[in-house]
């Protein structure tokens, strides 16, 4: 029971991070129907920006941890958004409306480019930071096992939930969100009705990257380390989460993220940590075979 509770807490924390990244995949897929393969690496770039901004703020400017973190979140979201904006503008927009595989290959190339750019610029080694937030609540203690809720886990879940609410409001209630949903339904018609489709798509990329940047900050805070190769695996898992939840569906992305997080931690606890990724991928494959459009995806009626 204690193990289960502890893993539940850990799984939800990890799942929040995956969910934040997955939203970027699912939004971009929803609006232009492409898999932004570089998104995982944008998340990694976000992590690096967070790391370096945090160091500037604390080591050079001598700010305290909490205000630094808030500033880091803000700067990270803006700068990572700028990265994704540029990537979309340079590598995807010229290919929009052409051959379906072209943007995919371009995105894979971009993913390789980003990871290696960071490697070349910052070196191949892991970048460790001393823990930002320490301490925890002990929820349940017995002699053999304790259930611990770390402060940083609370921060991660709270920030994620707050952002999701803000984001939900943005998509559901603002003109921007309406434009976005209109573009998802029918881009040509939206353009005919006077929506600036290019701008809407750009903003989608920026929002996706901003959420990935938050995930990057959370990841850095949780693990205390980031490296150039950290984009791929969380990226693939977040993509998996997006597909599991039903690609194109925003609540699906979050749900998928949480599920992947839980599957991973539970598997590590009850079976073997070595095969946790295998478990996540296998469950994805099995889910898709029985639920071909994911958990919350709209079932496709084949148009004949």
């Amino acid at each position: 029971m204690e193990v289960f509770l502890q893993q539940l807490i850990n799984g939800l924390t990890l799942g929040s991070i995956y969910g934040l990244i997955a939203i970027g995949y699912t939004m971009v897929f929803g609006i232009i129907g492409m898999v932004n393969f570089a998104h995982g690496d944008v998340f990694m770039v976000g992590g690096f920006i967070a790391l370096m901004c945090f160091m500037i703020l604390t080591a050079w400017l001598g700010l305290a941890v909490i205000p630094s973190l808030l500033l880091v979140l803000l700067i990270g979201m803006i700068l990572t958004g700028l990265w994704n904006w540029t990537i979309e503008r340079v590598a995807y927009r010229p290919l929009r409306g052409s051959f379906r595989l072209a943007p995919l290959i371009s995105a894979i190339g971009m993913s390789i480019f980003l990871a290696n750019l960071v490697q070349v610029l910052q070196g191949p080694r892991n970048k460790p930071l001393p823990p930002m937030i320490q301490g925890n609540f002990v929820l349940m203690g017995s002699e053999s096992t304790t259930v611990v809720l770390a402060y940083k886990q609370i921060v991660i879940v709270v920030v994620t939930v707050a952002l999701l609410i803000a984001f939900w409001w943005l998509v559901q209630k603002t003109p921007l969100g309406r434009a976005q949903r209109a573009c998802e339904q029918d881009r040509k018609m939206a353009a005919l009705l006077g929506i600036d489709v290019d701008r809407t798509i750009s903003i989608t990329f920026v929002i996706g990257a901003a959420l990935a940047a938050v995930a990057g900050v959370m990841y850095l805070m949780y693990y205390g380390v980031v490296s150039f190769s950290d984009g791929f695996v969380p990226g693939v898992k977040a993509f998996t989460a997006a597909v599991l939840g039903g690609i194109g569906s925003l609540p699906g992305a979050v749900l998928g993220g949480l599920l992947i997080g839980l599957i991973e931690t539970m598997w590590s606890a009850y079976f073997t940590i070595d095969y946790k990724d295998v478990a996540a991928f296998s469950i994805l494959a099995i889910t898709l075979i029985f639920l071909p459009t994911g958990i919350l995806g709209r079932p496709e009626v084949e148009k004949v």
Binding site: P94, I105, G109, S111, I112, V120, L284
Partner: protein, 521 residues
């Protein structure tokens, strides 16, 4: 310049008036670059003596990047000729390199000459642009422009085959025994492996239109099948067959990979498009993770070593009396094995091409292409789409398995590191860059990407520009990723963008790729 602008065509005058706009756009781009360079380019994280992370700054890099982006954007807007754009931008970069060298080290003759080359390239670009701007744009279509090439078309394939067959001997003649191993092995064999993988994946992606992001899994199955059977099974059961191991395992590897293709394909092939892509990607990762973690089976990260090398049909390549050299009365040299391996992979690749060409003209091949064009129409015509997809998937997997078996035999050592997603991406990139379903395209793309990738090893002279600490090899993957993006931007439809029909009534007319679909699954 102003005189020319006043007297020449309106196009030149229009370009003149665009300068403020171009400058504005370029300024904006430079500003974006400034934003991007903070903090990742402008600062560097390093570990100090006590293993703590510290920041050092290098604002000059950010400055150079901003200037480079400014020039590139400026030229891109203002110039019309693609060649002039390339020349000018590249020249400016060289010029900046010379400046950086001068600023960093000393203004020596080397810096001066780099600087001079840069200036010369920029000047050439400017001259070319002037020429392009004053001549009216060509209205000829691509077909007309390459009309002179049409009579040579039937000879391309035989010539290419002859060149491939003669390549090791040419290399041997050109650089001698010692030097040619590198050229035959790193370039010849390496490129041929990717050509074969590309041709194999082409059946799945190019013909049947099924997006497979986990092709490396079948490559891994083939490689591990050979490695395990030749190091574990054969010595334990029929040690006498040791020299024949490669030839026995080659078909087994292919069949095993095909079997895995069917096992995976059966449940997932009814998924469409991106779902199929993610499941194949997941499958590729699962295979790799299992190979890493199931140490008893695959020896984990450490991999499998001392895998037997292929024999010359039973005659080993060693210095013994029964060896290849002794048998043919030659002096022992490792080059024979390399040349032999080259011909083995050449034959395997040609087998793949032969089967593909042959099958395209058979009902099954036409059904693959029809499936790529319109799956629903296929079903209305009585085609069993599941079986058709499965055959494409299994056949593609089989060739991947053959290639894997060869790879293990050539390396003598394999580990899960060789079967990462990057490999799948590289093979997929080769297929897409080559053009839908085009065999020739795959060859060109392999030579460009793999050959280019290998050639970056040879860029030692760059050390002279950037100093001894500069390691050109670490930029290989970076440039590889960048070139994937650039080639797609340049030719989204791939290099060879027409489709040859499989049957004709009167004359065979190539189909423009703008009509060819890319498949939904």
């Amino acid at each position: 310049m102003t005189i020319a602008a006043q007297t020449s065509l309106p196009a030149a005058r229009a370009a003149e008036s665009q300068i403020p706009k171009a400058a504005r756009e370029a300024g904006f781009a430079a500003l974006v670059m400034l934003g991007l360079s903070f903090p990742i380019l402008a600062l560097r994280t390093e570990q100090n003596m006590s293993n703590e992370l510290i920041l050092t700054s290098r604002w000059s890099w950010a400055l150079i990047a901003c200037i480079a982006v400014f020039i590139a954007r400026f030229v891109q807007i203002l110039f019309r000729s693609a060649l002039a754009k390339t020349l000018t931008v590249f020249g400016s970069l060289v010029l900046l390199g010379g400046l950086a060298r001068a600023a960093g080290a000393a203004f020596d003759t080397f810096a001066a000459s780099v600087f001079a080359i840069g200036v010369a390239l920029v000047a050439l670009g400017l001259v070319w642009e002037r020429r392009a701007a004053t001549t009216p744009p060509s209205t000829r279509t691509a077909a007309e422009r390459f009309a002179w090439f049409a009579p040579a078309k039937p000879y391309v394939a035989p010539f290419a085959l002859g060149l491939l067959a003669a390549y090791p001997l040419l290399a041997l003649a050109a650089v001698g025994q010692g030097g040619s191993i590198k050229w035959i092995d790193n370039f010849g064999i390496q490129i041929l492996i990717y050509i074969m993988l590309g041709w194999g994946l082409n059946i799945v992606v190019g013909l049947a239109g099924l997006l497979d992001l986990g092709y490396v899994a079948f490559y891994a199955v083939g490689a591990y099948a050979y490695a395990l059977i030749s190091t574990q099974v054969i010595p334990a059961t029929f040690p006498g067959l040791g020299v024949w191991a490669f030839w026995i395992c080659l078909p087994i590897s292919g069949l095993l990979a095909a079997l895995w293709g069917i096992l995976l394909g059966f449940p997932v092939l009814r998924l469409r498009g991106d779902y199929l892509a993610i499941v194949t990607l997941a499958f590729g990762e699962i295979i790799r993770l299992v190979l890493i973690n199931w140490v008893d089976f695959s020896n984990g990260y450490a991999g499998i070593s001392s895998i037997p090398r292929p024999s010359f049909f039973g005659v080993p390549f060693n210095a013994s009396d029964e060896g290849f050299a002794a048998l043919f009365g030659l002096e022992f040299s490792p080059i024979y094995r390399t040349i032999f391996l080259y011909y083995v992979i050449l034959c395997l690749a040609l087998l793949t091409a032969f089967v593909t060409v042959r099958l395209r003209r058979l009902p099954v091949g036409r059904a693959w292409e029809a499936l790529r064009e319109d799956e629903i129409a296929c079903r209305s015509l009585g085609i069993n789409t599941t079986n058709t997809k499965l055959t494409a998937f299994a056949l593609g997997a089989m060739f991947g398995g053959f290639a894997g078996c060869f790879f293990a035999a050539r390396q003598g050592f394999i580990s899960p590191e060789s079967f990462t997603f990057l490999e799948s991406a590289q093979v997929l990139a080769i297929v897409v860059l080559g053009g839908t379903g085009s065999l020739l395209g795959v060859v060109i793309a392999s030579i460009a990407l793999v050959g280019g990738f290998e050639i970056l090893r040879e860029l030692d002279f760059l050390k002279q520009v950037f100093g001894e600490s500069f390691d050109p090899t670490q930029y290989r993957t970076l440039l590889f990723g960048l070139s994937m993006v650039l080639i797609m931007l340049w030719k989204p439809r791939g290099l060879v963008s027409t489709r040859e029909p499989t049957a004709f009534l009167k004359e065979s007319k190539a189909v423009s790729s703008s009509l060819v679909k890319e498949g939904h699954g």
